[in-house]
């Protein structure tokens, strides 16, 4: 049973993990087409930018590969049945967690190509900004990898199978799904920043600061997801054969996971708009940053509702 769960988890992990990075790379390549057709003379620089951008952008799917290989080949023991739930949860967590970061990393790559075609003189600034934005995009995938590694290597043999299995799969779903929105949203902000710098190279300082603040707030739903996962993994639940107890814990993970997707993307949209206009209207950078933060706080509220419901399901129901 443990092997069945490990192999299923490994398959889910790599399948979903490769999907995000491939979409992101495809988007970058599509934008590179446009950039090369606009400015064919600098196609060498564009390919160089794509090369370094994609090497960093595919980190999320390499995390997924690592977890999949660990699930397939590590001897995780043949002990308690609850380990099977933990291994399946690990695969689900990393697989979903790599999607957002993989797709999101494609945005700065694509916009950087277009920006370099427009402003070859500031290639270095755009590339640097692309790499910073792309690296920050990987954070939700790193959260997912942390949870997946904990699920693989922690000892859950002391936990009761009912409702422990649901808590561990819920832990995987919570961080994995919540990371989708945060990774995608962070990429939107990074893409807008590359575009903005190409339009107005002097705005690099303000645009990068706004991008980093916007990306940091976009990561919040993934942090909520991580928090719920930690509670589900570390809290000891009393044994209960009733299905409702298991479903409450699984529901907690589903609530936070799905509840984090929208706010992550919404926060990214807000950050994208703010960064875009900061680079066009540098003199209003402070005001735009305030509006962005207020907008993100409002957008965040739905993630907070999801977290509240998750906590009620864990502690009250």
């Amino acid at each position: 049973m443990i092997h069945v769960a490990a192999y299923t988890g490994g398959g889910i992990c790599m399948g979903l993990g490769a999907m995000g990075a491939a979409i992101g790379e495809g988007y970058t390549a599509a934008q590179a087409n446009l950039a090369v057709s606009r400015n064919p003379k600098i196609s060498g620089d564009l390919f160089k930018n794509m090369l370094v951008g994609q090497a960093v952008a595919e980190s999320a799917s390499i995390f997924a590969l690592v977890i999949a290989i660990l699930l397939l080949f590590t001897n995780t023991g043949t002990g308690a049945l609850i380990k099977a739930a933990a291994l399946l949860g690990a695969g689900i967590c990393m697989g979903f967690g790599a999607i957002g970061s993989g797709v999101g990393s494609g945005f700065p790559g694509g916009q950087a190509c277009l920006g370099i075609a427009r402003q070859p003189a500031v290639t270095n600034r755009i590339t640097t900004n692309m790499l910073i934005g792309s690296a920050v995009c990987q954070t939700p995938a790193i959260f997912s990898m942390v949870v997946a590694l904990m699920l693989i290597f922690m000892d859950f043999s002391h936990s009761a199978f009912y409702p422990g299995w649901a808590a561990l799969i819920g832990a995987g779903l919570s961080t994995g799904l919540a990371a989708i929105g945060s990774g995608y949203g962070g990429g939107m902000a990074a893409g807008a920043c590359c575009e903005g710098i190409a339009r107005q190279p002097e705005s690099v300082g303000n645009a990068t600061t706004t991008m980093l603040v916007g990306q940091a707030v976009s990561q919040t739903p993934a942090i909520f997801g991580l928090l719920v996962s930690f509670i589900l993994m570390f809290k000891t639940f009393p044994e209960s054969p009733a299905l409702s107890a298991s479903m409450a814990l699984l529901g907690a993970g589903i609530s936070m996971g799905f509840g984090g997707i929208g706010p992550g993307i919404g926060n990214g949209m807000t950050a994208e708009g703010a960064v875009r206009w900061v680079s066009r209207r540098m003199e209003h950078a402070g005001e735009l940053m305030r509006i962005m933060l207020v907008g993100q706080a409002v957008s965040q509220s739905t993630a907070i509702y999801a977290m509240v419901i998750s906590l009620v399901l864990i502690f009250v129901v």
Binding site: M14, A18, M19, A21, A22, I23, E25, G26, Y27, A29, A30, A32, N33, V36, P40, S43, G44, D45, F47, K48, M50, L51, V52, Q54, A55, V56, E58, S59, S61, I62, L65, V66, I69, L70, F73, T74, N124, R125, T127, T128, L131, I132, A135, V204, G205, T208
Partner: protein, 142 residues
Amino acid sequence: MRKKIQAAQKMETIKQTQKKYGTRAMTVAIIIAVGLIVIGEKAAGKGLVLGALFSVINFVLIGLTLPRTVGHGKRASIFISLASLLLRYTLLAIPLILAIKLDQFNLITVLIGIFMIQLMILLDHLPIPLGQTRVRQKRASS
């Protein structure tokens, strides 16, 4: 003729970038590995070099497949990217499986080695804005 020259220049730029980061990644990995072997962590040192080697191979393959992803529609680009990913990740799985199966290689240093190219790229670019900020601050103060 002009197209051929442009394609050759493009490949030359990619090769130079690959050579730059590939050399750095392997050099840093070997230096650290020698240090680890000297202090008695032979498996860790060997793992780091193994991971870095496959990281460089992966980077070279990205460079070879990149020009093929451009010049097609969005769907075709995504399909080519996915095929390229699957091929490269099959290769990247080799050092991980070796590290899990054999005690000669340390799994954690293999993992670090696999990200050596990414680390070199980020290290190469991250100090630039800090440097530029300092130059701007100096100019402003003078």
